[in-house]
Each structure stands twice: as structure tokens, then as C-alpha cells.
């Protein structure tokens, strides 16, 4: 905690009157409008005047329109100081208790849920078209997302961790273990890779999407089955700048439950960036052409996030320093090659989704009793919407053909 705060020197005309509210307590003090200082100093000052040095705070202020806006970096702090006339009203919350939805337009006057929460989980959309409502402060950088909800079995979860630009460590450990699979021969114990430990404060823990004992099924689209712990470790480290892990969570209670008739259109929109793309749902649920249609479709549709994000220039830039010059990122000139004999990312995803859905059919449809971990949500899904299972069953049969042609 930064205690080295700057004490306002004197009450001058350029002073900003500050009224800060934390719980039921108020504090009043003033700041120099021309020399507001940095946000972290201000933050320290707030903790000092409220005598709450070790409490994580979420700072908000009421702007001229009466909207509650956050203060969490130098920019919006300076904005708040400069627009205060003359009183700056601050509202402090404990970070753990904070309700992010309170921020936004008219949030102080009309309590209304905004789309911000959804936006938070949809970083891709943010990147493409910046939200017009408020600026995206540093705290709101994407740290993780659940993707491909619509093409994965409900028992699986594909999590993307954004390491890029973060100081936080990825912060988790993996181990060997064994899991039970449904095979034609019945239940079988097979070796698997599991998350063994989370580093407190690490990126993985902070997302809340990964947990100890989750089984790792894929790393960036490559199945880990048959690979050693060291191989999987190396794969994860090699992909650490943009790590996408597909897990089977140990706790199956928080799975995303698909709503609506799965057999129809794109109703099962998850939070992936492209979920609104009709092509994805077309592939996912209703491909009437079967094998040919699925295989001949452009790869960017099969894969539910654009190729550019896996292989994006931004993510994989090498730095080159010319003599005496500045460091500049290397620009890509030619096309990107990947191993021809090994599955490329996109077709592999295709294959995976086919096989995993086959597996999920086994788990949900044909062998419901043996699906040990299917639990609550599965039962709900099958009882309320029996049709998707049939649709999926059909699809899986068709796509077995795809598997063979691949």
C-alpha cells in the first residue's frame, strides 16, 4: 500500500472540496486542482483519511450529470478533479463487496442493469468496437473468458487467459492423475492431466474459471490425451501469451446451461465473440448437408474465434533493435506456416468438437446412467429440452464421417 501520499498544502482558490463517503462515514478535505498528483497517491490519501489502510477500495464519484463513475487510474482521477464544481463527491466501497453494475449513465438516479457486465465478459467485442458508454479503464482489461460454449459439451469449459501485458503470473500447477471415461467397453480409467494448485493472486485464480482438480482436456485446441505431464507443461508455456485451456471442471454445478431449442438457430449464444455469427450455430446444430457442408465451410466459421487471435501479430511479436534505433515489433510479411503433418489448429478444432460432442452424447443421451459427473445441470437440460440430444446424436453420426475423412 502506498502511504506516501501528498498532503494538500493550503486552501486556495484553486482548491477542490472533497466529500468522501465510506459506509456511513464521511470525510471532508481539499485538493489542489492544478496539482492533483497521481491516482495511487490519492488512493493512499483516501485510505489514510478514512483510517482504513488495508482495505481494498473501489472509488466512484458523481459527475456533473449525476452519474456514478469510477476512479481507478490517473486519467479518470484527473478528469474527476477537473470537472468538480466545486465539490467532488466520492463513494468508496470495499472491493469485495463492490457492485460493478452501479457504475454507468444515470446509475445514480435510475438503478438499471446496463450491458456493462456482458461487455466485461466479451472482450473481443470490446476490442473491435469500443463501447460508447464509458471508457474502458485498466481494471477492466480482459483477464479471461469462457469461449465456444455453443460447440462444446456442457460438461466442458474452454477458458482463455489473457496474459498479454499483465504483470500477474499465470499462477497454476498441473499434475498427473486418472479419470473415468465412457468407452464402448464400459467405464475405463485413463490417465489425465489435472490442475493441482492455484497460486493466490495469480491470473488463473483471479478469473474464477479454473479450479483445483479440473481435468485439462486440450491446450489451444490440441488434445492432451496421450501426452506426458512435461509435454503438456511445455505446450502451455509455449502458448502462455494466449492460453486457451479446455477443462472438465471438477465442480459440474456451475456449468453453462444451454437455453432454448438447440435444434434451431443460434439461440445457444454463449459469451464467445462470434456467437452471434449464424455460421457458428449453423455448423453447431443444424448442418443439413452433413459432412460436406461442415467440411467445406470456411475455417473461420468452424472455429469460433478468428484465426488472427490465436496467431495474432500483436500476440507473437518479436522485438528487433536496429543499431542505434528504437525497439520495434517485427511485422509479418508472408503467410504463416504451421506443421503440415500435424493437425492445424482449425481443422483440429473441427475434429475435436466432433469427438467431444460424440462423447457428450454418450454421456447425456445413450448412457445417461453412467454419466457419473453429469449432475444437476445435465439432468435439467435433458429433461427440459430433449430435442437437442437427438439433434446432436444425428450430428455426431454424420461427423463421424468427417473424422474418418480427416
Amino acid at each position: 500500500m502506498n502511504k506516501n501520499h501528498r498532503v494538500p498544502s493550503s486552501r486556495s482558490l484553486s482548491a477542490v472540496e472533497v466529500k468522501s463517503k465510506f459506509g456511513a462515514e464521511f470525510r471532508r478535505f481539499s485538493l489542489d486542482r492544478s496539482k492533483p498528483g497521481r491516482f495511487d497517491e490519492f488512493y493512499g490519501l483516501l485510505q489514510h483519511v478514512h483510517r482504513i489502510p488495508n482495505v481494498e477500495l473501489l472509488v466512484g464519484y458523481a459527475d456533473v450529470h449525476g452519474d456514478l463513475l469510477p476512479i481507478n487510474n490517473d486519467d479518470n482521477y484527473h478528469k474527476a478533479i477537473s470537472t468538480a464544481s466545486p465539490l467532488l463527491r466520492l463513494f468508496l466501497h470495499r472491493k469485495e463487496e463492490a457492485d460493478y453494475t452501479t457504475f454507468g449513465t444515470d446509475s445514480l438516479t435510475r438503478k438499471k442493469n446496463t450491458v456493462l457486465s456482458a461487455v466485461l465478459l466479451r472482450p473481443d467485442a470490446n476490442k473491435k468496437k469500443p463501447p460508447v458508454i464509458i471508457s474502458l479503464p485498466r481494471d477492466f482489461r480482459p483477464v479471461s473468458s469462457i469461449i465456444d460454449v455453443d460447440i462444446l459439451p456442457e460438461t466442458h469449459r474452454r477458458v482463455r487467459l489473457y496474459k498479454h501485458g499483465q504483470e500477474k503470473p499465470l499462477g497454476f500447477y498441473i499434475r498427473d492423475g486418472s479419470s473415468v471415461r465412457v468407452t464402448p467397453q464400459g467405464l475405463e480409467k485413463v490417465p489425465g492431466i489435472f490442475i493441482s494448485r492455484m497460486v493466490p493472486g495469480g491470473l488463473a485464480e483471479s478469473t474464477g474459471l479454473l479450479a483445483v482438480n479440473d481435468e485439462v482436456l486440450e491446450v489451444n485446441g490440441i488434445e492432451v490425451a496421450g501426452k506426458s505431464l512435461d509435454q503438456v507443461t511445455d505446450m502451455m508455456i509455449a502458448n502462455s501469451h494466449n492460453l486457451i485451456i479446455t477443462v472438465k471442471p471438477a465442480n459440474q454445478r456451475n456449468n453453462v446451461v444451454r437455453s432454448g431449442g438447440g435444434g434451431g438457430g443460434g439461440a445457444a449464444s454463449g459469451s464467445s465473440g462470434r456467437s452471434s455469427d449464424s455460421g457458428a450455430s449453423y455448423y453447431g446444430y443444424s448442418s443439413p448437408g452433413g459432412v460436406g457442408a461442415a467440411a467445406s465451410m470456411p475455417t473461420h466459421i468452424i472455429q469460433n474465434f478468428p484465426v488472427g487471435e490465436i496467431e495474432s501479430d500483436e500476440e507473437d511479436e518479436d522485438l528487433v533493435i536496429e543499431v542505434g534505433g528504437e525497439a520495434e515489433p517485427i511485422r509479418r510479411t508472408g503467410s504463416n506456416y504451421s506443421m503440415p503433418s500435424l493437425p492445424r489448429y482449425e481443422p483440429h478444432l473441427n475434429l475435436r468438437s466432433a469427438t467431444t460432442s460424440t462423447l457428450s452424447v454418450n454421456a447425456n443421451g445413450t448412457l445417461p446412467a453412467s454419466a457419473s459427473s453429469g449432475s444437476l445441470s445435465n439432468a435439467n437440460a435433458t429433461s427440459t429440452t430433449p430435442s437437442p440430444d437427438r439433434a446432436m446424436e444425428r450430428r455426431s453420426l454424420e461427423e463421424d464421417g468427417t473424422v474418418i475423412t480427416l
Partner: protein
């Protein structure tokens, strides 16, 4: 995905791949790890060695070698050739007997297992009854006598392994026919030895563990007594556990025998057992008496000795490791002549001693050379050595071999049908004791050519005269050290870490553990000179660190006499004296680049001047700064020594050493299994992105010289490239003065580029590709008209190989062009990489360059150039075999070597065109009737090849040779 590609192109490429690449493990070079049994066939002139891992290897004339592996993973305890046949019998630790034969197939012989057998005793008998302790293949070639732990001798018909129960010699039979006062009340114990009377094949001597010897007549069932029959059949020699041996005269039909002579050769004080004794007559002189062991227990109990006594000459040959077995080769077709050579298999090497030349010199072995006479620390392969350099190296090598016998290799069985190697290849191995050994790696036999020692340049604790303690007058026993296995390095700092030889100029640079870099030149004359050291500070003023590793080596100040061969003329010593991790030599520019964990430097060996130094150390990298604790080494060494001591004491305790060795191995295996189980307890791996703060990011992994376009696309210039552990590539532009001023004008270097790979994986290779996409040729290669000059018109490309990716950049402006990800896709990492040329096996003039890659999973990949696409993949080494993977070295023509044990290189080939493998033929002696024993009247059996075709092949070969 295939449907998106054009089919025609794809299948054409697949066909081309088949023409270019194929994977074969071809031949094992070196000395087998943990040999456990030795056998010899005088009629085939073949030597057989069994190992503890169940392998059986046969060697004849150089180039004639066979290998077989038992399915059971058990140690081979005994190997016996069936007399005058191509079959041999092996006894394994698990009490199974195996029959092997050499069968001709398509004009080449193959070693095949044709039968297996486990002795079954009477029902209900304890396993010890059938535990085989001695094997005697009867000279008739039809019987196998098996002595067992229970004291019975079982007789089995071969090759079918049919038990002849009615002919078994049971303990009861023996006990009943031996006078009671010999038997007493005690058990006779196990059968220790079985020997056949060389004159009368019906007489067999059975030696029991308790000391009773029985001569058994297979026909008449009358008994006499004895372990070695003298050649004339008149005497029997027996050796005993107290270090004595007895000579017994055998009365022909007389039941009474008398002890003629009993002797404890190294007597007075208690002696160790004589394990084996042989006596061989000479035509006109005293016989040769040879025995192993028998040393005075207290003073020389730890020596591994074979004593040879011939008339007045008495020598105790002192070997470097435990004696496993020995035999003697005698002159003449019938093996009746004078003893000519003694062949001794000790645990770490094979020693052959010429018994007919004065002083009994050692005959240099053409194969089975102990590669590990000092531990191998690195290796370097140079293909296609120019004839002139080859001649010079072999002639300086011959000067080192004057103490060897001039006689040819005495084991001459079989015919090598392998064609002459297409080129001369050298394999250089660096060793822990500071030596570099040069091996002729052109063909099947990896034979030593020349040995270079760098220790003479430095002042070490070891006194060079230290190990010359032999030849002391009047010493008893009269020891003579033989063998070259000497794993104990006096100073670990001398260890060789990197080697680079320029085959055109004969310049060699070697770098070692204590940051020393020697530049050497081949000189045919001996020369006395002082080597001046140039100390180079790689830290460049970075402060606040303390080097806790070893100190720099002290250089001898007085002039040193260097024998003919490679002689050092320049020495660079890095400060801090860390292990040299990268080394390169450019003989055309006369520059040597070197790197450690702290940085890299460039040395001009013409002006003997350091051009520049770059510190790559991350200031927060404390670990790299401090260096290895030198204590670790000494602990390892002392452990090794104490193990050796334990082993010695075990040797002295054991009576039945092979059995005990097996038990020891069993215990070890159990221990290993337990350890493995302990390791199965949850292991977890941290998932964390690499950062600049990781340890050893500054360690220099690779250095590369290239004449390429670094600043603009119209002017090429010399450059030096360095890659680090932290994924960083540094490029320096070099300015060389014109040739006429090369000696006096300074060379300058300017930093030109620095590339930080985002994935921060260690850079293990850098290659510049010319305008055609081909790797730049080696220095002087073009000047010698051995490569076409590189294409300087098109744009050059830079290929950076990290442990995780292959990445191609454009030059001079560095921008990423294409890449191949390895780790992100299948989780394997690049451990070794080399550039190789692959010729097509269908058209003589087609070939491609490619990258040969060995991953940490032990898989070999070939990656095409310049498109960096994966071509083929073969599993090669077990991924657990870390030292095997680390030791791998590639040739320029798609072959490679890796260590399968500390003493053996496995050779493999990825090329369809370059394949070095043994191709050999062994002729089987033909027998006319059941009486196979040659009679004393001199009618010898014939060496007749079993097929006329083969005979013709042999003739044509012999014709070629003459």
C-alpha cells in the same frame, strides 16, 4: 484438410520423401555396457560377448559383427560356441538356455535365435536342482552337459534340446562310485566346472564346489579325478579358492591318481582365489601357464590380475577393471599350435595381448574400443575429410601407437562384405580428462586414430610421472599395467566442452569447463613453445557479483614440448571461468567466437587479439553469476570411488561371481523400482510464462559466422550471430582489413541487430539461407571447390531455431516470414539440431538440404529448407534417456550418433543414400559324419562353405584384396 490441397503435388512430394528419407539404426560402436560373459570359437574365429541387459554380440575380423537380444531382460551369464559349428548356446540369469545360429540369408549372415530351453527336474524337486551352474558343449557337437547347483549333471541333446535322462550323471551315482573318505558326510555342493578331455572326448571332469573333482567316462562310467586338461591329456590342473593350483597326473586306466605338484604362486600370506587356470604347450619350449586372480589378499587383493608364466618369464598383467573371462588363441588350423594371443574381457574393455612378440605387447583392438576410457563430455563430427588432412592425422596418430604390437588382429572369423565407405569421416570426442580423441567413423568399425591431450598446457595437481609407477625392480608380484580405461580425471576443469575442427585448414579449437579456449594447428613435427594466455573479462564491469565456482586454470609459464599433432598456439581464458557453452571457428577470417553463461567474445587468432566482448548477463541473474559449486563434483567422485571399493570387496567375497552379480543386479533393480515408485507420488509442474528474470537467460547457446546482408540489400559483409537461452539473437557486423593488411590492421565489430523472440525460448541454432534458400557453405568450402558459392543475388534469410519454434526472417530488414511451431503443437522441444544434405536414392543428382532435429521426446524430425515444413518423424531414443539425447551428434549427410551407454555409440541414418551398417558372412564348417573330432594323425576337418555361390563371393573378394 487434405481436400484443400492439390493431390498431385502432395503425392509427388510424398514419393520424393520416400526417396530421400528413411530411418535405420545401423551399428553400435564402442564397448558394450556391462559385459557379463565371454565366449570364443576357435573354428569360426569369432568372439562372443554377453551383457547384463541380455544382448549377445559376436565379433570376428574388423567389420564382422552381429548382435542379438534375448527377449528376456536377463543377464547373459555364459556363452559357449558348439565346437566346430555355427551354433552357440547362452545361459541367462533366469536359468534359461538359448540356442543361436548364424544363418546365411541373401548372401549375408544373420544371427538368429533358434531355440530355448529350461531344464526341468523331477517333479517336486527344489529349483536348485535344475539351476545351471556350468555348461560344457561336448566336442561331438551333439551333447550339452549341464552342471547344476544340486550337483547333478544333466545331458541334453542339441540342437533340439532333448533331455537324455538315462545318461544324466546324478549326484548319487557319483557318490556311490567315489570312496567314502572323499565324500565324508558332507554334500558335494554345486557343479563348479566341467571340462572335456582334449584327447578322449568320452572323459569329462566334473569339479564340485566343495573341492572334489571327478573324471567321468561318459561311456564306461568309470571315475577318475580333476579342471584343465593339459593339451596332451596327461595332466589336469585344478585351481582353488586359497590361491593355489595343483597339477595332477592322470593314469590312463588307473583309478589312482597322484598330486604331482601343488603351488600357491603368490604364497606365504593368504591369497585370493584363482578363478580360472589354463596351460598350453608350445612346440619347442616350456608351456604357457595362465591364471586369473590368486593375488595376496592383504596387499594386492584389489588388483584385477592375470598371471602369465612362460619359462622364466612371469608377468602379472594388472587390468583396469574386474576380469570377466579370458581365453587364448593358438596358432594353426587345429588350434594345436603355440599360443599366439591372450584375449581378456574385463568389465570396461577388451584387451588382447600378443604372446609371441618379446615383451608381450598389447594388440590394438579394431573394434570394441572403450570410448569411455575417460568420460565423454562432448562430441563433434566432421564429414568428408580431405585426404591430405586424413593422412596427416593418421600419421601423427601412428606415432602414438608405437607401444602396440605390430601383429594383425588375431580374430579373423567371417568376411566383411560391406562396401568401402564413400568418404572419410571423423568423430571427435571430448573427454573429462582434457583429451580429444579422433575416431575413424567412416565405416562399421569405429577405430581410434589420434589422441590429443590439452592438459599439458596447464599446471595441474597431477604429476605427469605419477602413474609411471610400474617397472620397479624386484617387485613381487611382477605387475604390468595393461588397458586404457581410466575414468578418474585429475582436474575436472580440464574437461572438454566444445570442439570445432576446420577440415580444410587443419585448425582446431577446443573449449573446456574452466572457460579455456585453445586454438591449435596441426604440425607434423614436435615443437617446444610457450602458450600465452589471453584473459577476457566477459562481465565488462558488471559488479556486485561473486563467482563461487572453480578458479581459472594456471597456465604453464615455461615452454612445453608438444609432440607431433595438434599443437596449441593461442589460449583464451574467460573471466569468470565458467563452462564454455558455444564455440565457432572461421578459418577463412581466422576468428574464433566463444560464449559462456555470462556473454560472448570474438578472438582474432592471427593477431592473437580479442576483438570484442558482449556481456549478456541479466544483472538479477544471481545463479548464473555464482557458477557451479565445485564441491558437487568431488562428492560425485568420492561416491564413485567408494562404490568401487564396495565392489572390490564384493569381488573378493564372491565365489560364484556371476550368480552374485545377478543377485546384486536384482537388488539394484528392486531399488530402482522402489525409486521409480517414489517418483510416482504426485509430481506437479508450474505453468508460468518465461520472463526476462529467469535464470541463465544470458547463457550463450549458439554462435554462427555468416557473410550476408546485414545493413542493406546491396552490400554483404561478414557477421557474427549469437543466440542466448533467453530467446535473444545478437548480430554483429565485422569489418575485416584487406588480406595484405590482415596481420596488422585491427578487426572491428559493430552491433547491428538484436532480436528478442517473444516466446523467449532458448535459441539453439542460427542459419543464414542464401538466395536459393540453401544454407551458406562452410568457410573455405568454396575456396576448395567443394561447394558452389552461395547465391548472393536473391535476398538472404535468417533461420532462428529456438527450442520451441523454427522461424524464418527476411534480411537485411528483419521481419518474420514464416515459422513452424513445435512445442505449441505437440509439446516437444528441440534438443539437438543440425543441417544435413539428403541425396535421393533414385536419381544420383537430386538432393535437398534439411534440418535434422532431435526433440526432448527422443523423436527425430527432418524439417525442409527454406520452407520450414515438417517432412518425416521417427522415434529414436527413449525420452527417459536424457544422456542419450544430450549426446546426439549429427553428420552432414543425414547420419548421427548417440550414446546408448557410457561406452557405446549407436549409429543411425535418416538418409536413403548414406547408410553404414555391417554386412558380413560367416562360413559354416561342414561335417561328414558323427565323428567330428579331428584325429591325431593330422586329418583335419575342412572349412567348406555351405554353398558354392558363397565361395565364389569369397574368392572374388580375396581377389579384390590382392
Amino acid at each position: 484438410m487434405k481436400r484443400f490441397r492439390r493431390h498431385g503435388q502432395e503425392s509427388q512430394r510424398d514419393r520424393l520423401k520416400q526417396e530421400l528419407f528413411q530411418f535405420n539404426k545401423t551399428v553400435e560402436h564402442g564397448f558394450p555396457h556391462q559385459p557379463s560373459a565371454l565366449g570364443y570359437s576357435p573354428s569360426l574365429q569369432l568372439l562372443a560377448i554377453g551383457t547384463r541387459s541380455g544382448a549377445i554380440k559376436l565379433y570376428g575380423a574388423p567389420g564382422v559383427e552381429f548382435m542379438g537380444l534375448h527377449d528376456e531382460n536377463a543377464a547373459v551369464t555364459q556363452v559357449h560356441f558348439l565346437p566346430h559349428q555355427v551354433e552357440l548356446v547362452t545361459l541367462l540369469d533366469d536359468n534359461s538356455l538359448h540356442m543361436w545360429t548364424l544363418r546365411a540369408h541373401k548372401g549375408l549372415s544373420e544371427l538368429l535365435e533358434i531355440g530355448r530351453f529350461t531344464l526341468t527336474g523331477p517333479p517336486g524337486a527344489p529349483p536348485s536342482v535344475t539351476r545351471v551352474t556350468a555348461v560344457l558343449p561336448h566336442s561331438s557337437g551333439e551333447l550339452l552337459l549341464l552342471g547344476t547347483e544340486g550337483g547333478h549333471v544333466f545331458i541334453v541333446e542339441v540342437p533340439g534340446f532333448r533331455e537324455l535322462e538315462e545318461r544324466n550323471i546324478s549326484l548319487d551315482q557319483v557318490a556311490s562310485s567315489v570312496p567314502d573318505d572323499y565324500i565324508g558326510r558332507r554334500n558335494l555342493e554345486h557343479v563348479e566346472a566341467l571340462q572335456e578331455n582334449p584327447v578322449n572326448p568320452n572323459q569329462v571332469v566334473i569339479g564340485y564346489g566343495r573341492g572334489l573333482m571327478v573324471v567321468w567316462d561318459l561311456e564306461k562310467q568309470c571315475q577318475l579325478e580333476s579342471v584343465w586338461w593339459t593339451e596332451d591329456g596327461g595332466y589336469i590342473l585344478s585351481s582353488h579358492s586359497d590361491g593355489s593350483y595343483c597339477r595332477w597326473m592322470v593314469g590312463v586306466d588307473d583309478v589312482n591318481e597322484e598330486e604331482e605338484k601343488s603351488d600357491i604362486p603368490y604364497g606365504h600370506f593368504p591369497c585370493k582365489a584363482i578363478m580360472k587356470i589354463i596351460q598350453l604347450p608350445t612346440e619347442d619350449g616350456p608351456p604357457f601357464l595362465l591364471f586369473s586372480g590368486g593375488m595376496p589378499r592383504a596387499s594386492y587383493g584389489d588388483r584385477h590380475c592375470i598371471t602369465v608364466i612362460h619359462g622364466k618369464t612371469h608377468v602379472a598383467l594388472d587390468f583396469t577393471s574386474r576380469i570377466i573371462d579370458f581365453f587364448v588363441i593358438t596358432d594353426g588350423l587345429q588350434q594345436k599350435g603355440d599360443p599366439s594371443a591372450l584375449v581378456v574381457l574385463v568389465e570396461e574393455e577388451l584387451v588382447v595381448i600378443d604372446l609371441q612378440t618379446e615383451g608381450w605387447p598389447v594388440i590394438q583392438t579394431p573394434y570394441l574400443v572403450p570410448l569411455h576410457s575417460s568420460a565423454i563430455t562432448c562430441s563433434h563430427h566432421v564429414s568428408a575429410i580431405p585426404f591430405k588432412l586424413w593422412e596427416r592425422i593418421s600419421s601423427v596418430g601412428e606415432l602414438q601407437n608405437t607401444h602396440y604390437s605390430k601383429k594383425p588382429w588375431p580374430i579373423t572369423g567371417g568376411q566383411s562384405l560391406a562396401p568401402d565407405p564413400p568418404q572419410r569421416d571423423l568423430l571427435l570426442t571430448g573427454h573429462e580428462d582434457g583429451t580429444v580423441r579422433f575416431w575413424d567413423a567412416s565405416g562399421v568399425c569405429l577405430s581410434p586414430m589420434y589422441k590429443l591431450s590439452t592438459a599439458g598446457v596447464f599446471d595441474t595437481d597431477a604429476d605427469p610421472n605419477d602413474n609411471m609407477n610400474q617397472g620397479t625392480e624386484g617387485e613381487w608380484p611382477p605387475f604390468r599395467k595393461v588397458g586404457c580405461f581410466d575414468p578418474y580425471s585429475d582436474d575436472p576443469r580440464l574437461g572438454i566442452q566444445k570442439i570445432h575442427l576446420c577440415k580444410y585448414s587443419g585448425y582446431l579449437t577446443v573449449a573446456g569447463t574452466a572457460g579455456q579456449i585453445l586454438v591449435m594447428e596441426l604440425n607434423d613435427e614436435a615443437a617446444e613453445q610457450t602458450v600465452e594466455a589471453k584473459v577476457v573479462d566477459l562481465l565488462q564491469g558488471q559488479e556486485g557479483f561473486r563467482w563461487k565456482g572453480h578458479t581459472r586454470l594456471d597456465v604453464r609459464e615455461e615452454p612445453v614440448l608438444f609432440p607431433p599433432g595438434f599443437q596449441p598456439f593461442a589460449l583464451v581464458q574467460c573471466q569468470p571461468p565458467a563452462v564454455v557453452t558455444a564455440l565457432n571457428l572461421h578459418s577463412e577470417w581466422k576468428l574464433v567466437a566463444f560464449g559462456t553463461s555470462h556473454g560472448f567474445g570474438l578472438f582474432d587468432y592471427q593477431q592473437k587479439n580479442n576483438v570484442f566482448v558482449k556481456c549478456t548477463l541479466n544483472p538479477s541473474d544471481q545463479l548464473a553469476m555464482e557458477g557451479p559449486l565445485s564441491r558437487v563434483k568431488s562428492i560425485k567422485k568420492s561416491l564413485r570411488q567408494s562404490f568401487r571399493r564396495i565392489r572390490r570387496s564384493r569381488v573378493s567375497l564372491r565365489k560364484h561371481h556371476v550368480n552374485n552379480a545377478a543377485k546384486l543386479q536384482e537388488a539394484n533393480a528392486r531399488l530402482e523400482a522402489e525409486l521409480a515408485e517414489m517418483e510416482l507420488a504426485p509430481v506437479q509442474r508450474k505453468i508460468e510464462a518465461r520472463s526476462s528474470d529467469d535464470s541463465f537467460t544470458g547463457l550463450v547457446r549458439t554462435l554462427y559466422f555468416a557473410d550476408t546482408f546485414l545493413s542493406d540489400s546491396s552490400h554483404n559483409s561478414p557477421s557474427l550471430w549469437a543466440g542466448t537461452n533467453g530467446g535473444c539473437v545478437f548480430a554483429y557486423m565485422l569489418r575485416l582489413p584487406p588480406v595484405e593488411h590482415r596481420a596488422d590492421e585491427p578487426i572491428t565489430a559493430h552491433p547491428a541487430k538484436e532480436i528478442q523472440l517473444m516466446h523467449r525460448a532458448p535459441v539453439v541454432g542460427i542459419v543464414v539461407l542464401d538466395g536459393h534458400g540453401a544454407p551458406l557453405p562452410e568457410p573455405l568450402e568454396v575456396a576448395h571447390d567443394l561447394a558452389r558459392s552461395p547465391e548472393m543475388q536473391g535476398s538472404h534469410h535468417l533461420l532462428v531455431i529456438s527450442e520451441e519454434q523454427f522461424k524464418v526472417f527476411t534480411l537485411p530488414k528483419v521481419s518474420a516470414k514464416m515459422k513452424l511451431k513445435l512445442t505449441a503443437i505437440d509439446g516437444s522441444r528441440v534438443r539437438r539440431v543440425g543441417v544435413a544434405w539428403f541425396g535421393s536414392n533414385r536419381s544420383e543428382d537430386y538432393g535437398e538440404s534439411g534440418l535434422v532435429v532431435l526433440t526432448n521426446q527422443g523423436d527425430l524430425h527432418v524439417v525442409s529448407l527454406p520452407s520450414v515444413k515438417l517432412q518425416v518423424q521417427y522415434p529414436c531414443i527413449r525420452k527417459e534417456d536424457v544422456s542419450g539425447i544430450a549426446s546426439c551428434v549429427f553428420t552432414k549427410h543425414g547420419q548421427g550418433f548417440y550414446l546408448i551407454s557410457p561406452s557405446e555409440f549407436e549409429r543411425f541414418s535418416l538418409s536413403t543414400r548414406c547408410l553404414v551398417e555391417p554386412r558380413c558372412l560367416v562360413g559354416a564348417p561342414l561335417h561328414s559324419g558323427p565323428q567330428r573330432r579331428p584325429q591325431t594323425d593330422g586329418i583335419s576337418y575342412c572349412h567348406i562353405l555351405f554353398a558354392e555361390v558363397l565361395q565364389e563371393i569369397q574368392k572374388s573378394l580375396e581377389g579384390d584384396q590382392t
